[in-house]
Structure formats: C-alpha cells, structure tokens
Symmetry: C2
C-alpha cells in the first residue's frame, strides 16, 4: 500500500518537520499504542471516547457491546477521527517556556464499516488476543458462535492518516545554555508489571510463556 496523501485535514500544519505520512510510521504507532481516542460528532458537538484498537493489515479494528454508543457510531459508518499517542519523555529545558514532551502520535480520519461475518470476526479476535500476548490465542477458549454474534465489531480502513512526533533534547536558546540549570530528558514508557493470577486460579496452572514479562524496567 502506498503512503498517505497530504489531504487538507490530515496535513500537519505546525512544525511540519515533525510530521510523517509514511504508512510504516502510522502502523508502528497504532501497533504500540495500548488504546486510542475516537472522536465523532453528535448533535453537532464533538465526543471523544477511548477504546482498545488493533490493526490487521490496512484496517484498524474495534469491538464492544451492541449497546455501546461508540460501536454504534463506528458501525453506522459515521465520520470518525482516531488518535493514538505514545509519551516518550519529558523534555526539561533551562527556560520554562522551552519545556516540552517527546511523543509519537497518529491521527486517522475515515469511516468504519461493521464486521458481521463470523469467520472474519473470529480471525479478528485471534489478532486481538495475539496482540495482547503472542501465543495466547492457542491457550484460551475461542469465542462461541453466540459470543461472536453478541459482540459488535468495526473495521476502519487506513486511508487518510498522519503522524506527528517530537524526539531529542531540549531546544534552549544559545543564551540560555549558559544558565546553571539542569537540562535534559526524562524518558517515559509504559511497562508491564508481574502478572497477578486470578483468585480462583488453580495453583497448578503455571504462568504461560507468552505472559512472562518482557518489558520490565
């Protein structure tokens, strides 16, 4: 698939040097972000709701209850804007005004469509569970037909998107470099802690390989 076109609404207007329209950059942020925020218009006013997402190829997937307002909006094919953001660090400059954040964010515009086919839903469920922990799908009880039917699922084609990011050290003025003030970056990242077994779990069931922490500090 080609990279994204610089449509008017997807074009980054401020600090264009921090922008990207490369599909690989958009995908990398969507794949790493644990959740996204979906914006839609209701009665002419904006609403933004967080939800977990996952990507299969060139589509972003969402699922939820048939009673969910957000799933209703997605499945109806309303215009949405999906934003996923990763915080990489606090940028501490010598001057207050130059403090900043290192981050990566992806913004996607489009209209989703409902996924109703059971086989497609099953494949998407597998991708969701594998995203959480690769190998987990083979361990869990897969959804039954009635579970598949009772979950609402939507897929948003990745057709209009852009990335904006900041990385690197503070950008103090030349003059401020002489100040006796500590400056640098405090890196931030989302880290998994040791898994906590369910109270009712049979102690004979070991922690599976796929859940052994890989991301601890």
């Amino acid at each position: 698939m080609p990279d994204f076109a610089r449509t008017p609404r997807a074009t980054v207007r401020r600090k264009a040097q921090r922008a990207s329209y490369a599909r690989t950059d958009v995908n990398a942020i969507l794949d790493e972000a644990p959740f996204c925020s979906v914006g839609f218009v209701e009665d002419g006013r904006p609403v933004v709701i967080p939800i977990n997402h996952w990507r299969i190829g060139d589509s972003l997937y969402f699922h939820g209850s048939p009673a969910s307002r957000l799933l209703g909006v997605l499945c109806a094919g309303a215009e949405v804007c999906v934003t996923a953001t990763l915080v990489d660090g606090w940028v501490l400059a010598r001057s207050a005004a130059r403090h900043s954040t290192n981050y990566r964010s992806a913004v996607v515009f489009g209209r989703a469509r409902e996924v109703t086919d059971r086989a497609a839903k099953m494949a998407a469920f597998a991708a969701l569970i594998e995203r959480l922990a690769p190998g987990r799908w083979a361990e869990v009880r897969p959804p039954s037909d009635s579970e598949l039917d009772s979950v609402r699922m939507a897929a948003l084609p990745l057709e209009e998107a852009s990335v904006k990011m900041r990385a690197g050290p503070p950008a103090d003025t030349e003059e401020d470099h002489a100040l006796p003030v500590w400056a640098g970056v405090v890196p931030m990242r989302l880290v998994a802690g040791p898994p906590v077994p369910d109270d009712g779990l049979d102690p004979a069931i070991p922690l599976p390989e796929c859940l052994k922490p890989r991301n601890e500090a």
Copy 2:
C-alpha cells in the same frame, strides 16, 4: 465545588457501575494523565488532537503556539471534548471474549476561554512546570514578557465531566473457571527512566532533587 451533573452527553450509558461523576475522581485522572486528546468539529467533521494539559482548581489549561490549530479552536471558545485515559492493566480471561482492559478515563465537555493576562499566564506556567517536577519552577528561567505574549494559552472550566473505569480480575463465566487456562491481570504503568542530560550540559551541574526518579519499576 459540587460533583458533576449527569447531563445527557456526559452520562455513561454502558456499564453504569463503572461510572463516576465525583469531582475528586475526575481531577485525579486529569492530574495523573500525561496528555489528553481534544476533540472538536471542523467543517462538520471530527478532529482529535493530543496535547499536554494541566489543572488549576476547576479549570484545565493548555498552551501552544499562536499558529496551532488546536489552540485557535480552544481560544475561540468552540465546543470541545477532552478525554484523558490511563491504562492500568491487561485483563486475561480464560475465554477470548472476556479479555478486557483495566483503565481509568475522564471525559470533559465544554468551551475554553483564552488566557491573555500576563500574571495569569505566569501563574499557569508555574503550575505546568511544577506538575512536571515539583520544585522545578524555582530552578528554571521564568518566561519573559515576550515569551508570555508569544504563547497562546486556554483554560477550560470543568463544568461537565464524567469518569469511566474498570478494575479487578477477569470476569469468566462459572463454566469457564474449570478450564486449564491461566487467568489474571498484567498490571501496566507509565514509568520514568533515568534522566538523560543534555549534550551541552555543564557536568558540574548535578541532577536536581526534583528530577531524581521516584517512579521506577
């Protein structure tokens, strides 16, 4: 200030037992979240942009360049929806369909107003820097008058808001409890790593007390 009214758009519709309208709950999430996502309507379509925020009393503050589209929207007093989300863990059930996420999210609706008064901007800058690292404000060069004038700032009164969250173990069916599948929660949190000094930093300048990592795994 009283808690929030259950206005139609701020009322959580699904899983109301996971909702809160308590000001202390909304504030706690806004204060912990490193960024938020601001939704607005442009040409009838939704746009969602991430930005850093900070709270002073019953207002949420934002700042940026006068050229920023988002600051323009905020300062113009357009309707916005601000969502801040914290991921607390992956919930791994015995069945695929019961996998979930532990999270806390706050959704705020309203219209911001521009902050133009220099003294108010200076006080808000202090609150922003202190939020990053308590004690930092006393160490950095404060904004000059021209820096204050060249930053656009907006304050959103916290008048209509709600919280939705999930906590706790997986909710497998009674039947699924008999399955030989590991189930539990993988806790997640945003962690600060060791500060990285700016390349140009005088090695005689020590890491200030306020930046010594407090949040490491």
